[in-house]
Symmetry: C2
Subunit: 167 residues, 2 copies
């Protein structure tokens, strides 16, 4: 009886190439973590990844996942996100629209991706005005997704009754 060889997502080979370029070993765990991230278009938490790698029959510890994610981010194959949930999420950058932005629903927490070509001009304008050299950006629009609006959700809002003007 032969030990079954896991079949990874084709993009995992790209990560293997990066590791070899850097003179780093290509291990089962590293490939398993990469596979979990490349196999979906969702924004995964470390717990999500741990669950998926374990379900795939691989023995792995959280420390290895964090260390591998660090490599994946360094390789630019994966992008790290912080949606203010108290932990990070990870999303691969392959066969997706590059440099997309996020609509985040305050009711259900769902994340939708959008393309914002207008930001191009904005970055150029800002660069010209301030001398700042842009490298990357992060745009998150918070609000209510269509589904939650349809379900009757409403935006919470209870600041000062007469907010800013009166002093």
């Amino acid at each position: 009886m032969k030990i079954e060889e896991p079949v990874f997502h084709p993009f995992v080979r790209l990560f293997g190439r990066y590791l070899r370029e850097q003179g780093l070993p290509v291990t089962q765990q590293r490939e398993a973590v990469a596979d979990a991230v490349f196999a979906t278009d969702e924004h995964l938490s470390v717990d999500d990844i741990e669950r998926r790698v374990r379900d795939a029959g691989e023995r792995i510890g959280k420390a290895t996942i964090y260390r591998t994610l660090d490599l994946l981010v360094r390789s630019r194959l994966v992008q790290e996100h912080d949606f203010g949930e108290g932990f990070k999420r990870y999303e691969h950058r392959l066969s997706r629209q590059p440099d997309h932005d996020h609509l985040i629903c305050l009711e259900c927490g769902g994340v939708t991706e959008v393309k914002s070509p207008e930001l191009r001009g904005l970055q150029d304008r800002v660069a010209g005005e301030t001398g700042f050299l842009p490298s990357r950006h992060k745009l998150e629009i918070y609000g209510l997704c269509a589904a939650c609006q349809a379900a009757g959700a409403t935006l919470p809002d209870q600041g000062l009754t007469c907010p800013i003007e009166a002093v």
Copy 2:
């Protein structure tokens, strides 16, 4: 000899009004924290605030600062930021351009504020296309400020040699 009454920034009265509206006590510590935040246009960390309140001669613990900042954010007088440093920063929303965005220098960590009227149209477009109801947004552009460029700083970049295309 009279105990000196601290003179707070005028905006602190607004916070007092909010507290009274909510039936909450207006305490020395709450006013001192509010004063520290309102007295500057910087983006303060909790440690920054602690230092400033103590320097003003007030005895305070971190727990109280966190609890007061929660109230300030709820009152909408103060905004919370997470620039990915591993801790939060706080900025008041009075007499500033509302809804401004941030240029964050990857070299020195400095934060510059910019106004991006283009985002208005972007949000409207997105809302029309996806049915998403925008409430607020967060735009952060990361790069190099003019000063750090002049000082010879350069953007780190070592991903895969041939990044995305080759599979």
